[in-house]
């Protein structure tokens, strides 16, 4: 059976061009870029090329403001922890209730260590209340860390505006954004629209580079202590011999991403085609993030009265790979903190499915999902104690979020 891969917010296929670019550095170009001899110079030049390629994707920032890391989780840990360690006297952090765990858990850990953290709520469509954000800023606010695009729902936060407001409030406030899901899907100009962003995390494996490589952009002059020490690499900002093959891969992937930015509209059209079809055919279906600006590739659905893991299992029987925010897929017993923060009705909370597309997704693949998905939902509703299969509606006795109403958008 052919794999239909619609889980690109989890990870992406490595682009063939990227594999080709990194291969020499797993073969004869093995030299340590810090070594003195001629052979090493080619390797260190490759690092600088990669840095330059990534800088171009971010709007042509000066490349030395980019430091390569092992991925966005390290970048986030470093950015948030490094800012706090640089100015231990300022203790207030502003973030949101829907951040990726690599930010959310770091902020919770800092709260345990005595920082004062404000977790901003979101509304039913996943958007921030801008007034609440303004009111959260304080004289002792050290750091704002707010993601650009939500990994689960694709909902976008107006980060350029939020960063400007932070800096106009107090230029000493440091603004960090986790841009992992936004990179390559939206134009991101750190010298223009996003000039007020001080720190930005990204990951290679969401843009068709391998897992295990990422970067942190740190605007020159941002007070930031290193996370990993013990070497002069990356200008002393991140010790350890550079992961040359994967850094080269990230550079090549960034160049490809820049080339393909104009093509994201095609991804959006496929996503919209999927969304329109399932909304039309499946009753009691929520589109999480509906009404908010969203990434072009992400569709997060919640099916009332069924559970997400059993949906995924059946989809997988058709070769379709997707993911879910249900408790049963997370390894914990709690459904997604993002969907909870959005107040998704409890009857739909466990029935979420996320489809995330890439530039490799084809119309035929989307059409296959349109064919299969409604039947998967129907089969699980037949088995659900809350659903009346004959009427194709919830049983009158089924629990409902009040006020009771069908929620088909």
């Amino acid at each position: 059976m052919k794999t239909i891969y619609l889980d690109n917010n989890a990870t992406t296929a490595v682009a063939p061009e990227v594999t080709a670019a990194l291969a020499p550095f797993l073969a004869d170009q093995y030299f340590n870029p810090s070594s003195a001899y001629d052979q090493a110079r080619q390797v260190s030049a490759a690092l600088q090329t990669a840095r330059h390629e990534l800088a171009v994707l971010l709007g042509g920032v000066t490349p030395d403001q980019l430091t390569f890391t092992s991925g966005a989780t390290e970048s986030n840990n470093w950015a948030i922890g490094g800012v706090v360690r640089a100015q231990p006297q300022r203790r207030h952090i502003v973030t949101t209730a829907v951040e990726h765990p690599a930010v959310f858990e770091v902020c919770k850990e800092l709260a345990r260590q005595g920082c004062d953290v404000t977790f901003l709520p979101v509304d039913r469509s996943g958007q921030l209340d801008r007034d609440a954000y303004v009111r959260a800023l304080r004289p002792d606010t050290l750091l704002v860390t707010i993601m650009l695009a939500n990994n689960e729902t694709g909902v976008l936060f107006p980060v350029a505006e939020l960063a400007r407001i932070a800096h106009e409030t107090n230029p000493a406030i440091i603004f960090h954004t986790d841009a992992t899901q936004a990179i390559g899907k939206l134009p991101l100009d750190l010298t223009g629209e996003f000039e007020h962003v001080d720190l930005l995390s990204l990951s290679g494996h969401k843009i068709h580079a391998p897992k295990g490589v990422g970067a942190l952009y740190a605007k020159r002059g941002t007070p930031l202590r290193p996370l990993i020490i013990g070497g002069h690499q990356e200008n002393g900002r991140r010790a350890g011999t550079e992961n040359v093959p994967f850094i080269v891969a990230l550079g090549r992937a960034a160049r490809l991403a820049a080339d393909h930015l104009a093509g994201v509209d095609q991804i959006r059209q496929l996503r919209d085609r999927l969304e329109d079809a399932v909304v039309r055919t499946i009753p009691y279906l929520e589109v999480n993030g509906h009404g908010a600006p969203r990434l072009p590739n992400t569709l997060n659905l919640s099916c009332h009265y069924i559970e997400g893991e059993s949906i995924l299992y059946q989809l997988n029987e058709h070769g379709i790979c997707a993911s879910s925010g249900s408790a049963c897929t997370s390894g914990s017993l709690e459904p997604s903190h993002v969907l909870k923060a959005m107040h998704v009705p409890f009857t739909a909370m466990h029935g979420s499915v996320r489809f995330s597309l890439s530039r490799y997704t084809t119309a035929a693949e989307v059409d296959r999902v349109i064919e299969v998905f409604p039947e998967v939902v129907a089969s699980l509703r037949r088995i659900s104690p809350y659903w009346d299969a004959a009427r194709n509606a919830p049983r009158p006795t089924a629990p409902q979020e009040s006020p009771a109403q069908p929620t088909n958008h």
Binding site: A97, I165, H350, I383
Partner: protein, 315 residues
């Protein structure tokens, strides 16, 4: 976390959702026994019904002939429900004999379940038990006289230890012993208690205390860090009341009328010290010059009429 289900579990699940002949999805009308366990809030729920061949004189000799289920839940919850019905029908049990079917029997039938899915099998055993109680009530059988220990009586009213999944203290105490649960993860895997916010793990009277009472205190292991409950309210910044009134007044008397003249409006979102956060609405909002309008006109007016130090921030 990739799926770690046995082939048997996978097969039973797929047969069940496709309604293969011989599977047990459904609900018996006017059943002789009706039981439920779980809820939609907790992420899985099972409705279990059975029919008996009634004995003419002695209800204790009723034999279960048919069992059906409806399940809201994951792959293993559905497979466990199907397994339960198969075991019960196959065994030709009286309802009281059926009570001897445990969650371990379901796990064995499924050829194993991942540790974090054990609660799916427990759900099956619990629904079976409540269906047998329902049968006893309908048939006028005194279970105590029939030698059944009514352990669950009153458990629903006990102190709730795990608030996330509404699990009571008497129930946890019984399950610790019955299922030989030795650690907090054991409890969570079996009956979900403690699986969400974790605040009941080490609280007084919490899961660890109940384990210690059941098995004796264990040498202290470095427990998990205390949970942090995210705070979502936002503290209002301290604003000088007098200054605030003054700014409001100037905006009401000078700024707003000028903007309204052009079909727009202004809203003050917040004032912190010398910073005035404003939102333009109406005709001005989409206007390219909105930012400049605010900066120049509003800020100048406020500087002149209130304080030279005021700055305006567009929100």
């Amino acid at each position: 976390m990739a799926w770690e289900y046995s082939e048997k579990t996978r097969q039973i699940f797929m047969d069940a959702v496709h309604g293969k002949p011989g599977t047990h999805m459904g609900e018996i009308e006017k059943p002789d026994g009706f039981g439920e366990h779980g809820s939609i809030v907790c992420g899985d729920a099972l409705r279990f019904t059975f029919r008996v061949r009634q004995h003419a004189t002695d209800p204790l000799q009723d034999v279960i002939t048919e069992a059906r289920y409806l399940t809201f839940g994951c792959t293993s919850a559905i497979a466990a429900s199907e397994a339960l019905c198969t075991i019960i029908e196959h065994g030709q049990y009286t309802p009281i004999q059926a009570l001897k079917v445990t969650n371990q029997d379901i796990v064995r039938f499924l050829e194993g379940l991942p540790a974090q899915k054990i609660h799916c099998s427990v759900m099956g055993a619990e629904a079976l038990e409540s269906a047998v109680f329902n049968w006893a009530q309908k048939r006028g059988v005194d279970l105590a006289l029939a030698g059944v220990q009514l352990q669950t009586k009153g458990e629903d009213e006990g102190r709730i230890v795990c608030k996330c999944f509404s699990v009571t203290e008497p129930y946890i105490r019984r399950k610790i012993k019955e299922l030989n649960l030795r650690t907090i993860p054991d409890i969570t895997n079996a009956i979900k208690a403690g699986g969400a916010c974790a605040s009941c793990h080490h609280a007084p009277g919490g899961l660890q205390d109940l384990l210690d009472e059941a098995w004796g205190r264990q040498p202290a292991a470095g427990g998990p860090p205390p949970p942090v409950v995210p705070r979502t309210e936002t503290p209002a910044g301290a604003s000088s009341f007098q200054r605030f009134k003054q700014i409001e007044q100037v905006i009401a008397q000078s700024v707003r009328p000028a903007l309204q003249h052009d079909g727009g409006d202004i809203e003050v979102v917040d004032i912190k010290d010398n910073l005035v956060y404003c939102r333009l609405s109406g005709a001005c909002a989409g206007c390219m010059g909105a930012q400049a309008t605010l900066k120049m006109m509003v800020e100048r007016t406020l500087k002149e009429e209130v304080s030279e130090q005021l700055r305006v921030i567009a929100v």
